[in-house]
Structure formats: structure tokens, C-alpha cells
Symmetry: C2
Subunit: 901 residues, 2 copies
């Protein structure tokens, strides 16, 4: 078993495919070296060695032995042999009194764990080699500064003496010299200090600081192995789902210096612009500097060339200062991008005019850049279109679709809730829908804060920039409506308590503190993270007009086997959805029309009617309103199918709750308020989610469904008369027993025939049902006989399959906590494949077994979730339907799912 893999000098033992054995960094260094790129030579000790070493270490610890242990037999010999190769390539000698080879020793796991594990730099320095280094650099101070850094780092990482113990000595020296920064200390100062540092090590630990470079190297390798098992590394792995058993590789590599003079530099570059994806070589550098200087921001880095917009003309660029080195770098960036087929983020150092590549990796990018790079690279032939589609994810599109909090902005997080609808919003707090409307009319941005929302809050939600609720889950009313509106929303924020006096208290579990926020105070919400922040926080705007998005989504549509429709309740929603590329309406919730001004009173009169005659009269008032809404929907969706669901919620949802509303209704209906109150009480339900709703209403109160069918088909004929192509689909909700659909299908057809006879015209339409109860899925073979199409209502199906009320499922936050991990994900966000998914599969397969051409879709919240889309694509569904603002994400996901199917 090979334990050490060398790289450098244009060859390598390993390759990029060996990440498990060599770690990400080691594999990448090998790959770059094989490509002939100038990486500083070095070698990688495999993760297998680490695993063995740690196993032995744990065994020793179990026996009560000391917390260090020799390296495996013979390993040091192999290491020294590898060091020999490095010496040859780099033209340096390890421990040499001229041109000494100095080494870095770094960890490198299968997956990057930034900052979690240990590194030792400048290894190989001692009282002899430091002089040689000074000579080589022509800079004694540089050499001694490197030396003291090495001693401090080695003492901390390898010997276990906390760096503050040594920094105290440096501070003493600064005081005695009357200076404030280390940079002001001279080479002579460091010459005095280094022996003091070593003496402090000996005093504290009882061991001398190793002068022998070989001993230094062995200690550093052991320390890096051990750092895999520190508490902070273990915690990080648990948080990020990284397996404890993987271990880390150790990369030993020749040090190169960008700070050996003015023919030295160090920098970072991207093969394309990571902000907008523009296709030019982008990067920054500093002359005579170390890598950390670029990151630290003490000196302003300079652009490598003048291709970026807005480059300061007074700053010299790398192509001007070191044109040969720049040319080499330029060559390298082309090799890298064409080799990796993606935009690369690379780190380089120029040591005395010689370019070294320290690292390359796939570059992080904004959403806009991700889209543009993917489309450009496909057009350039660097990747194919399927790969372009795979390169863009939900997060990228969310950035394009919604404003987002600037990741670097300062913020005070006062509470965290569930991220229910993405985007960010700043505004003044209000506590009622009416206050929201009043304040918004003055032009102020508004954040609506509620304990929870109900359909009566919709007018307030529609004018608010963001919505925050104390209660409710990912599919609570607030969450569903906000996503439908593309409005930023945080729900289920139990760290907030809304008071009746027009204020709320925020007490975050993490971070502590307590705030009282009053109406009119400004807060910022992040609907992508669930953070609630004090005051205004800097954010970046949505940039939907990203270059390439339309193209990318067209490619997605071409690849997809499923259509993407939208859940849209109004003509305005429908137009938004069509703008985002929806291929029809998959769910129009007719009841959302009921809450509009001037309608709710008629709805209430209908519900509270004492006789069928009175109810019919009230329904007649609603009929023209519904008809005209439907005409608008059909017109907006000209040529595309429109699925309209008949009334679904329990009737009590429409009744008034406050005394004022009850009095108003009583006046309008000319009945005593007490009688209305009694009716409201009579209709109250213990578990409304499982109550008298959906098709159960259609069975007990057929007159409501009859009115709706009439409005739909009259509207369809109206729209057709205006030249539109109309495909209405009438959907019966909450069917659990085939007889429900049988009875209601007959009712729809009877009413349809009456409309057609009256209009002396016919129109083709379909009748289908929602599968949203376990029993419907279980008996889908029966139900299919009466259905032209199925649409899975996975919100309710998830509720009933798990027995979770989405409005009460606060315990889900505990369930998905990685420390508890009862569930891997919130099943209201990503479909539960194991349970709910079985029912979706069963419903689809059993339905199609009796009706092979049954059209099947999904219109729950999961219709906009990529993982869920991938799952239902695998089941052969015909379409997904989601809120308008999710349509682009769903189109992309549908395309990706089809490619991977």
C-alpha cells in the first residue's frame, strides 16, 4: 500500500480522482502538477495512514498512555525520500546552509473544513538555516520574521503551548522599543526575541524546541493527524454531516515566498468574473507580499489587468509590472478552465519572477454569474447543455428572483424563525392588516407582524414588504400566501412573542439578549435564513434580468419531461406566472376570490342562510364575480390549461370573528348579532383540517359547487367568444371515497349540460380530483374511473400521512435538529419519499393501471421544491404546479430531473 504520493516538476503519483485517499487539496495539487502547471513540489501522506495512526493513538489513550505516539514504522524513511525529490525539483536543501528548503505541512480531508485543522509553515528553519534564508532573499529581517512565526506556530500546533504565552514576549519587546506594531520591529529585535521564545517553550513544557528539521517534520505530521480529532473539528463534522472515519491527508510542500522582494507577488484570480460571470480573466495581487496580506485587507490589492470595469487608472497592474509572469498566469488560467470545464478560483505566488500555483478550485459565484457562466460555457462548447443546467441551482435562482441580505453586512439578529418565503425586506413594523394598508399608503415600507395570519389578513400581506409570524410552519397560511405573492416571509418564530398592546418581544436562544419592538420600529427580515434583524440591513436587489436566464430555462424546458404550471388564484397571479414561463395553471383556489372586498359579505350571507332559497340568492350575488375572475384567468392563460379547484376550506373560515365584524354582518343580514354568534359557534370545529370541507361541502351543499361550475363554464365560453383558446379543468378537492367523485362528477356534468344548452355552445373540459388523503391513494384504482386527471395535494397528504397539523408542528424543529434527527428534512418542504412518496407512487400506479393515459400532477408546496420535483419526475408525473415565483426554479429542476432520470 503506497503511503506517500509525490507531486511537482510536471508529474504526480496521484490525480484529482483520488480525493478519498489524498484529500481534496492533495488530489488537486497532483492533478495540477500532472497538467504541467507550476505547483511547488511536495507530497501527500494518505488518509489511510491517518486512520491507522489515529486508531493506534486511541488504543494508546485507552491504555492510559501519553497523548502522542511515534509515526508508523518506516514512514519517516519514506517521507525523507520524498523530501529528497522535492529538494531536487525546487533546487533547495532541507536543513541546508545555503538555499534551504522550507516546507509547509497542511491537513487536507476529503471535504474542506476551513479553519478547523492545523497547519505549520516555514518548517525547516533553525539557527543555521535562517541565515541562509536571509541571504537567499537578500533580506535578513524577512528571514528572522519567518523564523519567529515558525517558532510560535510550531509551539502552538505541535507542542501544545498556546500562542498567547509567546505573544506576551513579543508585546514586551514592542513596549521596550516604544512601537505599536510588529512591523516596526527590526531584524535585530527578532534575533533577540527568538531565543527568548524558545526558552519560554522549554520553561513551560520542559522540552527543548527541536532544532533538527527532520524532527520538526515528524512532529508536524503527527500534529496534523491529531488535529482531525479535536473537539471543534468533531463538532464541525457533526454539523456538516462529515464522517468521523474519513481522516485527513497531510500535504508537505515546498514553501514559496511572494515577499522576497519586488520581483515577488501573491494574488487570487478567477477565470471569469464571479460577480456577473463576464468572460475575462479577473484577479487581484500585491507586490512583495504574503497570501495572508491579500486576505487581511491592510494593503489595497491591485487588479491583475485592466479588463474589469472601473479599474483605478492610478494602480499599476500585474501585466504592466511583471509582464512575463502575467503571461504565464494567463496561460495557466486557460489551461485550468479548459481542464476543469468550470470557472476556477486560483491562488498564485510569484517568487523572484517565477510563478507558482498554490491552489485551484471551482469558484464561488453569484446567482447571476452562475447562470451566465453556464450559458456562455455551453455556447463556447466547453460544456454541453445538460451540464450547463446542472451548474445552476435553486439558491442561484433565488438570488435572481428576490432581494437578499448582503452577506457581509453588519447585523443584529434578534430572533430566528422558519425561512418560509425567500428574499429580504426592511420596513416599519405593524400588527394588523389594516395598519399595514394605512402605513403603506403613505409610501412607507411595511413589515406585517402577526401571531399567525388568516385569509382576512390578505390585504395587509399584499402591501407588506415582508411578513413575520410567531406561529405556523412552512405550509401555514402565512407561508403559502407569501410564497404565492413572492413576498419575503418568516414564520413559526417562537423566539418572538406578539403582545396585544402593539409590540413584540424577541428573545433569541442563540446569542442572548432581549428586545421589545413597537409599531413603527424598523426591522429587517431574511426569508432565506429565517433571521429577524434590528433596523435596516444592507441588501442586494433582485436581478431577474440576468443575462442568459431565459436561455437556460428554455434549455430546461427542452430537457424536461414534465410541464411546470403555477398555482394562481387571480388574473394578476396568472400573468405573473406566465411571465415566469408557467405552462398553465395547476391550481386556482377559488375561495381566495371570496375574501375580496364586496364579496366576503355575500359569502357570509350564503353560509348563514336559513333556507336553500336564501342560500341560492346569496350564491347568485357571487356568481357574476366568480365568472368575471375566471374570464380573466382564461384570458391570461390563452392557449394553456387552467385547473380550477372547487371550494375547499370549511365554511367557518369565512365567518367573522370579532364583535365589530359580527355586528356589521348582523346589520347587513337584518338578524340579531347573537344569532350570528350562535351560528359561528355551531360551525366551529375541533380539527378543521379534517373537518367539513372539500368535496364534503360539495356533497352536503351541492348548490355551491353548481354555482361555481356554472361560473367556470360560462367564463370559458365568454373567453372563447373573445378569441381565446380555453382548456378548463374542474378539480374536486379532498376525495377519499370514490362515491364522492362519482356523485360530484355527475353534478358537474349536469350543470355543464345546462350551461351548454343555454349558451347553445359547448366547450371541452376535464373533470379531475386531488389526491390528498391516504385513502384516495389507496383506492386510486377505484377513483380513476371517474377522473380525467389527478393532482396530488401533497400538503394535506403529508399532514394526514404523518398525522401532523402543519399549523401546530412546532415539534418539527426538534425533529429535524441534527442532534435529534428524527427526520432528515421538514416533510412540508421536501417530500417524504419513504412514506408520503409511497402513497404518491401508489396513487399514480394504481390510477394508471386502470386508465393508462391518466394525466397526473402535483400542486402542493412540493411542486416548487427541486428534490421533490426530482422524485415525482421519477414516478412519471406529467406536471408540477407551484407558486408563480417558484416557476423558474421548478422549470430548472424539472429539466435537471429529466437529465438525471
Amino acid at each position: 500500500m503506497q503511503r506517500i504520493y509525490a507531486f511537482g516538476g510536471g508529474t504526480a503519483d496521484g490525480s484529482a480522482s483520488m480525493k478519498n485517499l489524498l484529500g481534496g487539496k492533495g488530489a488537486n495539487l497532483a492533478e495540477m502538477s500532472s497538467l504541467g502547471l507550476p505547483v511547488p513540489a511536495g507530497f501527500t501522506i494518505t488518509t489511510e495512514v491517518c486512520i491507522d495512526y489515529l486508531a493506534g493513538f486511541e488504543e494508546q489513550r485507552g491504555l492510559g498512555r501519553a497523548p502522542d505516539m511515534p509515526l508508523p514504522d518506516g514512514l519517516m524513511d519514506e517521507i525523507l525520500e520524498a523530501v529528497g525529490k522535492v529538494e531536487a525539483i525546487q533546487d533547495r536543501t532541507f536543513g541546508g546552509e545555503t538555499k534551504p528548503l522550507l516546507l509547509s505541512v497542511r491537513s487536507g480531508g476529503r471535504v474542506s473544513m476551513p479553519g478547523m485543522m492545523d497547519t505549520v509553515l516555514n518548517l525547516g528553519l533553525n539557527d543555521e538555516t535562517v541565515a541562509a534564508l536571509g541571504e537567499l532573499a537578500g533580506d535578513e529581517r524577512f528571514a528572522w520574521d519567518s523564523y519567529r512565526r515558525f517558532v510560535t506556530m510550531y509551539a502552538d500546533v505541535v507542542l501544545g503551548l498556546h500562542r498567547t504565552r509567546l505573544e506576551a514576549l513579543i508585546n514586551e519587546m514592542k513596549t521596550s522599543r516604544g512601537v505599536t506594531t510588529e512591523n516596526e520591529l527590526t531584524a535585530d529585535d527578532w534575533k533577540i526575541l527568538v531565543p527568548r521564545l524558545k526558552a519560554r517553550v522549554e520553561e513551560s513544557l520542559g522540552t527543548t524546541f527541536p532544532e533538527d528539521p527532520v524532527e520538526q517534520l515528524a512532529g508536524a505530521v503527527r500534529a496534523v493527524f491529531r488535529s482531525w480529532n479535536t473537539a471543534r473539528a468533531r463538532f464541525y463534522r457533526k454539523e456538516h454531516g462529515i464522517d468521523d472515519s474519513w481522516g485527513t491527508a497531510v500535504n508537505v510542500q515546498a514553501m514559496v515566498y511572494g515577499n522576497m522582494g519586488d520581483d515577488c507577488a501573491t494574488g487570487v484570480a478567477f477565470t471569469r468574473d464571479p460577480k456577473d460571470g463576464a468572460a475575462f480573466f479577473f484577479g487581484e495581487f500585491l507586490i512583495n507580499a504574503q497570501g495572508e496580506d491579500v486576505v487581511a485587507g491592510i494593503r489595497t490589492p491591485q487588479p491583475i489587468n485592466r479588463l474589469a470595469q472601473g479599474v483605478d487608472p492610478s494602480l499599476p497592474t500585474l501585466d504592466e509590472l511583471l509582464p512575463e509572469a502575467y503571461a504565464e498566469l494567463h496561460r495557466i488560467h486557460l489551461v485550468l478552465e479548459s481542464h476543469y470545464g468550470d470557472m476556477q478560483d486560483l491562488e498564485f505566488t510569484i517568487e523572484q519572477g517565477r510563478v507558482f500555483l498554490l491552489q485551484t478550485r471551482t469558484g464561488k459565484r453569484t446567482g447571476a454569474a452562475a447562470v451566465r457562466i453556464a450559458v456562455d460555457m455551453a455556447n463556447e462548447g466547453l460544456i454541453d447543455r445538460p451540464e450547463a443546467l446542472r451548474r445552476v441551482n435553486e439558491g442561484h435562482l433565488n438570488q435572481l428572483l428576490h432581494p437578499t441580505v448582503d452577506p457581509d453586512a453588519e447585523r443584529t439578529v434578534i430572533a430566528r424563525g422558519l425561512p418560509a418565503s425567500p428574499g429580504a425586506a426592511t420596513g416599519k413594523v405593524v400588527f394588523t392588516a389594516d395598519e399595514a394598508v394605512a402605513l403603506a399608503e403613505t409610501g412607507e415600507p411595511v413589515i406585517l407582524v402577526r401571531e399567525d395570519t388568516s385569509p382576512e389578513d390578505i390585504h395587509g400581506m399584499s402591501v407588506a414588504e415582508g411578513i413575520l409570524t410567531q406561529r405556523g410552519g412552512q405550509t401555514s397560511h402565512a407561508a403559502v400566501v407569501a410564497r404565492g405573492m413572492g413576498r419575503c416571509c418568516v414564520v413559526g418564530c417562537s423566539e418572538v412573542v406578539v403582545h396585544r398592546d402593539g409590540s413584540f418581544t424577541a428573545m433569541p436562544k442563540e446569542g442572548g439578549g432581549s428586545w421589545t419592538i413597537r409599531a413603527g420600529d424598523t426591522i429587517t427580515l431574511d426569508g432565506g435564513t429565517g433571521e429577524v434583524m434590528l433596523g435596516e440591513v444592507a441588501m442586494s436587489e433582485a436581478s431577474l434580468e440576468s443575462s442568459g436566464l431565459d436561455t437556460l430555462l428554455e434549455w430546461a424546458d427542452e430537457a424536461a419531461t414534465m410541464h411546470v404550471r403555477a398555482n394562481a388564484d387571480t388574473p394578476a397571479d396568472a400573468e405573473t406566472a406566465r411571465g415566469f414561463g408557467a405552462q398553465g395553471i395547476g391550481l386556482c383556489r377559488t375561495e381566495h376570490m371570496f375574501f375580496e372586498e364586496g364579496r366576503i359579505m355575500a359569502v357570509r350571507e350564503m353560509i348563514l342562510a336559513d333556507s336553500l332559497t336564501e342560500r341560492t340568492e346569496a350564491l347568485e350575488k357571487l356568481y357574476p364575480m366568480q365568472r368575471s375572475d375566471f374570464v380573466g384567468l382564461f384570458e391570461a392563460m390563452d392557449g394553456l390549461p387552467v385547473t380550477i379547484r372547487l371550494l375547499d376550506p370549511p365554511l367557518h373560515e369565512f365567518l367573522p370573528h370579532t364583535d365589530a365584524e359580527i355586528d356589521e354582518l348582523a346589520g347587513s343580514m337584518r338578524v340579531p348579532a347573537s344569532s350570528i354568534r350562535a351560528q359561528v359557534e355551531r360551525l366551529r370545529e375541533f380539527n378543521p383540517m379534517m373537518g367539513h370541507r372539500g368535496c364534503r361541502l360539495g356533497i352536503t351543499n351541492p348548490e355551491i359547487y353548481r354555482m361555481q361550475v356554472r361560473a367556470i363554464l360560462d367564463a370559458a365560453l365568454d373567453a372563447r367568444e373573445r378569441g381565446k383558446i380555453v382548456t378548463p379543468e374542474i378539480m374536486i378537492p379532498l376525495v377519499g371515497v370514490v362515491a364522492e367523485l362519482k356523485v360530484l362528477r355527475a353534478l358537474v356534468e349536469e350543470e355543464g349540460e345546462a350551461v351548454f344548452a343555454r349558451r347553445k355552445a359547448r366547450i371541452d373540459y376535464r373533470i379531475g380530483t386531488m389526491l390528498e388523503l391516504p385513502r384516495a391513494c389507496l383506492t386510486s384504482d377505484k377513483i380513476a374511473e371517474y377522473a380525467d386527471f389527478y393532482s396530488f395535494g401533497t400538503n394535506d397528504l403529508t399532514q394526514t400521512t404523518f398525522g401532523y397539523s402543519r399549523d401546530d408542528a412546532k415539534f418539527l424543529q426538534t425533529y429535524i435538529d441534527p442532534a435529534v434527527a428524527v427526520l432528515a428534512a421538514d416533510p412540508f418542504v421536501t417530500i417524504d419519499q419513504e412514506g408520503v412518496g409511497q402513497l404518491v407512487r401508489m396513487g399514480t400506479e394504481r390510477g394508471r393501471a386502470v386508465k393508462p393515459d391518466l394525466k397526473v400532477g402535483i400542486c402542493g408546496e412540493h411542486g416548487g421544491d427541486p428534490a421533490s420535483i426530482r422524485f415525482v419526475n421519477g414516478l412519471g408525473l406529467n406536471y408540477v404546479s407551484c407558486s408563480p415565483f417558484r416557476v423558474p426554479i421548478a422549470r430548472l429542476a424539472a429539466g435537471q430531473a429529466a437529465l438525471d432520470a
Copy 2:
């Protein structure tokens, strides 16, 4: 195709197996005749003839023809040939001037439709034969009375002249003679009247009354055919699920007369006593009377012998008056019972000393009689034990287990609700549990009337004779608790509105009227029918000590492959259950103990505790109480398994609701009432059925389950120390995700080991789970790994599979209405095999696929429903568990199910 089947003279063309062709009556007459029993001779015209005739009739009506139609070609010739045979057997002549044969013409369908269809008696009388009949009977008045009855009946049934048109003439005659009853009219009076009746027929209809017996017979046969399709017959068939296409047979039979003198009699007899099943020949008769006289009750019938208890010594019996005829009847009853193998109800007539059997059928009987007869007959060898078990049904046992309203008692029904718990009760109305206790303490029987009940009403329910609720379904709290207590209960009585002022209004949909009932008024409930009645209504007591019941249930246990356990929450419940033969406890709901006096405060303190320390302190108060309850349970169930479910309901169910309760709790906890109110509000749930309950509590608040496990296992050790054999089974409720059970099983085991270490003793126990969510059934193959047993909670499984809240499912009354028929039965009463049953099957099969010896039971309400028991027996379940008072029914059903499997 044979159209006519003759019977009489000891032979018959047909038999009892030909009910579809000959109708029930015709088939039975044929059977009796074949047995050599003396039935009056006659013949049956088949149902097929009726179907053909009516089809032709409908066709004619479709063509606008007259509403009568000739009989099929040749039928009349066959009829007359059959009449000839009757003449020969009976020694009479049809239309003869001496010894005239008179006939009855009756309908007779496959299933009896009492009073729904037409009959003509005394057919064959005319101005000539009437004289001959008078001579034969030696009673001219008898002949003319028969004649005028025939004319009136024939005019009504065959000619369509309503009988009131002719009765007017009889009334005129009574007036002119100065008499008040028809009995006072003489033969001469009838001689004057009969021609007047015929004249009135001719005036009204324009046709003469037929004198020709053959013409009379043809008309009567046609009329009986037509009567199949009257509106009332159609309605009756719809109500009783009888197929319209079956048609009726027509039975033409020689008339025999029990009223031709003192050597004549008529009566009804049973082969055993139908009240208690005692094995002797039981019956009543009247000398010189017609069958209707026995039924009408004008004369007091006499016992046929002196074998029954309490026979009036002054009344002569049949064996004394007509000993030869009695001997013949006695012979007949033995033949009949041994032939049919069941207790028979027979009608007989003695004409001039000659016994005729008019009818025999399986006799209706009380529950007590059913049990005794079944056991006796099996012991006598008349039937085998399986048949004995099949002879007794749920209704019979319900009569034994609960008092029932006397079916003949006068009553005023003021409302109808759902029959939730069988039995009947009379008492004074109270509206709160506390009032119930106070009034019951004075010795008054109490009926508790509530809008609905909650666990806080239990003390009132336990002292009430009966419970009536306005809301809730068959598995609402009231229904479940009442059944558990064996208490009469009517729920979901929406015809009642409970007012806050201590009264309720009742407005029945059927029958009309409106009543206001105040506290202290007396009402009667029938929990078997759902009727609410005014005042006290006569009832018969429960008679559990029925002779033979224990034997029958032992036979059931021997036959059964499933055990029957009880749902019992307290030691008292457990003792009741054991008395009824329960083979263990299948479900102990630990939370029911929480509501008892002195505990609820500790429970509330536990729930509202601010810190884990305070919660633990409150739990420590509950621990000894739970432990001592469990000891009681284990002792009562010595030697049998006891399944204890850990806490299931959402915590807010235990919190106070009224201001007074909140204040009391605040005082006890020394916190402000406002703080408690806020907590109550915070814990409120929109859909508590699907909320934070069951194992979800166990995950978020493990300290509660830990306390319960400790109490269970300490109690088990305590009971064993007292010499009991204890098998505890700890059941985790509401598991939907395998990780829930995995985590909680580990918790139970950890707590168990701690108990065992402290006690220095171990006890075997099992850990299992309820399958009550669709997801649990779907993933049962995963869950089984951590379960020693499964118990299907079919109440919740029905709720979630259908998406029905049992407390809100008023619409189910519409769904099961036969006119709507969305569902065949209430799925909360009888398991829905098609949907819920699939999940039960899946849960069982998938669980046993990975753990073949997995013990599986059912502990929902369905565990006491015979149809559901039959279903789960077919799935191979190991046991059912039901409320103690259902145990006998479940034992019987389990035995029956195994026999039929």
C-alpha cells in the same frame, strides 16, 4: 318453465330452497306440505310470472294503455287445473253449491314485506255459494259476514274502489238499526247490505261486481301482481334494500276457518319460550275465532297448555278443550323443530276439529332466549357448537348486557342522535359534572346533558345513568368513555341545542314539535337507537345471568384463534373486564389517571413548569400515584398481559379552561393568572388531533415518559413481590417515523435498567408501538425492528386515512344516509376494509415479513365491533382489545370469525 307449483295432501312441487322462485311463504308452504304437515292445499304462481307480467304491464303503460292487463296466455288454464287439485284434497268445489271451496290469494316475495302488499280472502263467494257456506258452517250470519267482507276487500284491492266508500253504507245501516258495532248487525242486515255494496261498486266504477269465481280469481291474481309496484311497496323496498326486480309470487290457498263453531280455533305457538328460551311448547289460542282476533287483542287468548309459568288457572287450555287437536299440534311442533333445527313460530287453525298449519318461521326471541336455545340445542345434539355460536348475535348480547327500552312502551321521541353506547336510562337532567355528582348523591338517577364532554367531566359521567351530547361522533370523548363505563350514551344529537342557562331545546326533524327541557326534568335515553324520550319510559333490565351465556362464550373462546383483551384504565375497569372474560389488558390509557382528584393540579404544574427542575418536581408528585394505579392493574390481571400506553394526548388537554380553574391553579403555583392564561393560549392548537402529542411528547419531553416507565416497572416488581404473575407491555403511541421508536425504546430500556439496578431485580417486559398513522403502516417493515408488538389504533388510523376528525364528522350522517350512500357504514363503527383495512393489512404483513413472530393486535373502537373483528381475524391478528362491556360480544365475534375463516 313451470309456472305453478302445487302443494297440499302431503306432497308439494316445491321446497324451502326455492324462495327466489316461490317467495318465502310459498316455499315454506311447499316444505311443510312435503313434511306431511296439514297445510290447507293450494298452489303458488312463481315470481317469474310476476316479473313477466309487470314488464308487459309497464310496456302497456308506456303506450298509454289502461292500468290493467290480461294474464299471460294459458296461465288461467293452468290455474284452474291447480284449483282442481285443491278441490280434490280439500273435498270442496270452487263455486260449488254445496261444500264450496273458498280461496285466499296472497302475495309472497323472497323477503317478507309485512303489510306492504295485497291479499284477498274468501274468494269464490257469490249469491249462490254464500248459502252453501252458511249450511256447511251451520251459521248463516258467519257466511254473510264473510261475503260482505269479501265484497269490500275485492272492491278495494282488485277493483280499486277505496273501502271507505263502502263502509259508509255499513255505517248508514248501523245508524238505521240503532247499533254501534258491526257485530250487532244480523244475517238479515248483511243480506240487505251486500246488494247495496255491489250497486255502489257499479255506480262508482261503471262495472258490475264479478259473480263468477273464476273471473274473481283472475282479477285477484292480477291485483296481487300489480301491488308489487305500489308507491308504498317501492318505498319500503328502498328503505330495506330489497331489489325492485325480484317480484312477488302469488299464493292461492284453500280457506280454512277457525270461526265455524266451538270445534274451531285459531292460534300462534312457539316450539320454545321466546322470552327466556325454556324448552317447552308455548302458545296461545282462541276458540271459534279468526287469526286476526288473536292479533287484535279484543279477546284474551288462552294458553295452549299449562307448561308456562303463571298460567291463569281459570282459563281452559287447548289440551283440555280439544285434546286430539292439541296432540296433533304437539306432534307437528316436534317435527318442525327437528326439521328446521331452530325454534319455530307457527300459526294454526282448527276447523271443525281438523288442524291446519298456516305458517311456520324461525321465531323471534329475546337475547336471553337466543343464548339459552342455542346452548340447549347444541347440548341436545340438534345442532353443533359452531352453529350454536352462529345463532347468537351482537344484538342479543347487548340485550343481556344493558337495560333496554321495552319495544312496546309508549314514548314521545323528542330528538334522535347517534347511538353511541347501548342500553337505556331514565333520569333527571343535569348540565354539569358537578351537578351530576351532587344530585346522584341524593340517590336520584341522573342524565348528564352536555354540548360535548372532556376529560374533566369524567366524575359526572361515572355517576350518571346516561349521557347525552349535542356534538361529537361515535368515537368522541363522550362515546368512548361511556362505552368504557358500559354507560348508556347518545352523542352528536344535533336536534338538541344546549343553552347556557341550564336548559336544552329539542326539535326532532321527524315528527315535528319542540320541547324545552330544564335541569331536573326527567328524560329517557336509548343508547341502542339514539332516541331521546320525554319522561320515564318502560324498560327491561339487563339479564347478564342468562342461562347458558358462560357456556356459549367458553365455546367461542375454544373456537377463536384471537384473544380478546380489554381497554381498561383503572383497577376497577380491569376487574370488570376480567369478570367479562377478558384475556388481558390491550390498552391502558395512563392519562385517564391524570384527571382524578388531587392529580390534575400536579399534572398542570408539570405542564406549566418553567424549568426542567420544576417539571421534574411535579412529575415526582405524580410518580407514586401512577405506580399505585399500575400495581392495582397488575394485581387485577394476575397471570395475564397488561399493555400500558405512555402519555398520548396533547398537554393542553389537561389545562384549565374556566377563569375559576385558572385562578385556582395560579394560587397553587403562586404565579399570576395572566401568566397561566398566556401559557394556555401558547399551547392551544388548531388541529390538536394532529398536534404535539403521543411519542412527539416523549421526544420533546422525555422526563414524562421516564417517570411513567419507572412507575410501570416499579409497580410490576411490587406486584410480583405480592405473588402475582406480571407481564407488562409498554406501548409507545403515535409513532410515524422509525427513529421515534428507536429513540424511545432506548429511553425505556435505559430507565428500565435503572429500576432493575435499584431494585436488584429484573422482570421481563415488552416494548411495542401503536400503528395509528398511515405512515406507520407504510413503513412498518422499518418500525418492526424496534417493536416487540404492534397494536393498531384504528380510531386515529381511520381519522388520518380518511382525513376525518371524529369530533367534527357530522357530515358522516349524510354520507351513510342510504339515499346518499357515499359510505356503506360509519367507518368509526365498522372498519373501512377498502381503505383503512389495506393499511392494517400492510402494517401487519410488512411487520411480520421482517419479524415473523411479531404479536399484532387492535385496540381501537373497532376491537369491539363484530364485522371488524371478522376482518382482522382474516388478517391473522393475535388479539383484539375493546371496552370491558364489549368483551362478551368480542369473544363471541372472535369465535364466530374463526369458525367462518
